[in-house]
Amino acid sequence: MAQVTALMEEERLNVTALHPQHDELTPAQYPPLSRSSSPAIEINNLVVSYGKRRAIEGLTLVVPRGSVYGLLGANGAGKTTIIKTLLGFRPPNGGSVRVLGYDVVRQRLEVCARVGYVSEENSLYTYLTIPQICAFCRDTSRQWHQDIVDRYLRLFDLPGNAKIGKLSKGMRMQLALCLALGNDPDLLLLDEPTAGLDPIARHTFLSTLVGDIASEGKTIFFSSHILADVEAVADWVGILRSGRLVLSGELDTLKQTHKLVRVTYAELPPESELDALRALPGVVNVEQEGRSVRLRVRGDADALATSVQERPYALRDVEVVNLNLEHIALAYLMEGRP
């Protein structure tokens, strides 16, 4: 019996938002107003180990309220571990994790009551119908807003009485999202939400995410290994590699501070000139091919282009080139690799 309950528990957590069954505090005890000004997520120097293997290695990450934060990383980089830690499923081995101002270990129920979660596995009970699973979630939840769930069910045009087993993968993901919104969460955690969706389902899903859910002021934190999804809907981006955050920031700012400067010399530049370029402030990498030199720049590329023009060598052209997220991400992901 205990095993069955554990299984139910496990499965329920996968399915819906998180619905703690007991109130540990009276309502009067928990509206600390200062929390509403804290970041949606605040991870400080987090370490998570599986046995001897360190899955997360001193990770620090902040997600501002109201943002759509896309966590990009290859499979096995630690994305799911981070999301499970945010939910309190995985206690940290080091560091601290605060969600909506609450400590995920000591105030787990507070976190769960305000967070919606859609898991990657998406193991909904296949033998239930949509109304049945709604009833199930309502019964196990502290606060349930069926009106919100119904609104999103209609928006996705999900068939009213269908058994979950009969739904397509895209529909199940949409249903999981509807259920995750049932406790009217302030923060939505989505683990690989678009993986395996067809183009139309993906578009509808993303458009609802930003046009409806984020536009209501909810914070969205989602993981993905698909760059196109992150660059389309996210306004904040984090790039994870082997349990470390190699880059994090506002996407628009990243584009403004990561550029390429393309320099064409009149004559083949000597090695000393290339060294001088490498030493210029903001230059992270210099690649030469004959008279053409490419500088990867962080910071003010226009200022750098001006100082290149002032070098005592004849130049044919100096051009500042914008980089998209793919270019920026690849540079960070490949940095330091053999």
Binding site: G211, E231, N324
Partner: protein, 134 residues
């Protein structure tokens, strides 16, 4: 949804900058006129599948430039009249090009007299031949 608005998330140009430029262009060519309404943040976020904060950022930039105004209950409306500024810009770009031609000619050691003669001949040919033919 205005069909003249279209962002490319794959571009290296920040999305909010793309929005600012496209809306400013719509003002300059007269697609948008004072008093016209811009879509709500929610509408644009859903239609363009971009984060709402990105649109908020673009709108506040346009507001700082004095081109639009957002008011609760009213929405976002166009306040500036940029109609005609495009013509002025094109004109100044043209004269800039002329300046470039003169500079390039001098770099290529074409004499002042020669350049003047060429320019006069070009003007002559355009206006007089056109009139003769017309």
């Amino acid at each position: 949804m205005p069909n003249w608005l279209d962002v490319n998330p794959r571009s290296g140009v920040p999305i909010y900058v793309q929005l600012v430029e496209q809306i400013r262009h719509a003002l300059e060519v007269g697609i948008l006129r004072p008093g016209d309404h811009l879509p709500t943040v929610r509408q644009l976020a859903g239609e363009l599948t971009i984060a709402p904060n990105t649109i908020v950022k673009a709108y506040s930039e346009l507001e700082n430039l004095g081109l639009i105004e957002s008011r609760p209950g009213v929405g976002t409306t166009v306040t500036a009249n940029l109609n005609g500024t495009l013509h002025a810009q094109q004109q100044s770009a043209l004269f800039e090009r002329l300046r470039g031609v003169v500079r390039d000619a001098s770099h290529m050691n074409i004499s002042e007299d020669d350049l003047r003669a060429r320019f006069a001949a070009e003007v002559e040919r355009f206006y007089h031949n056109e009139h003769d033919e017309g």
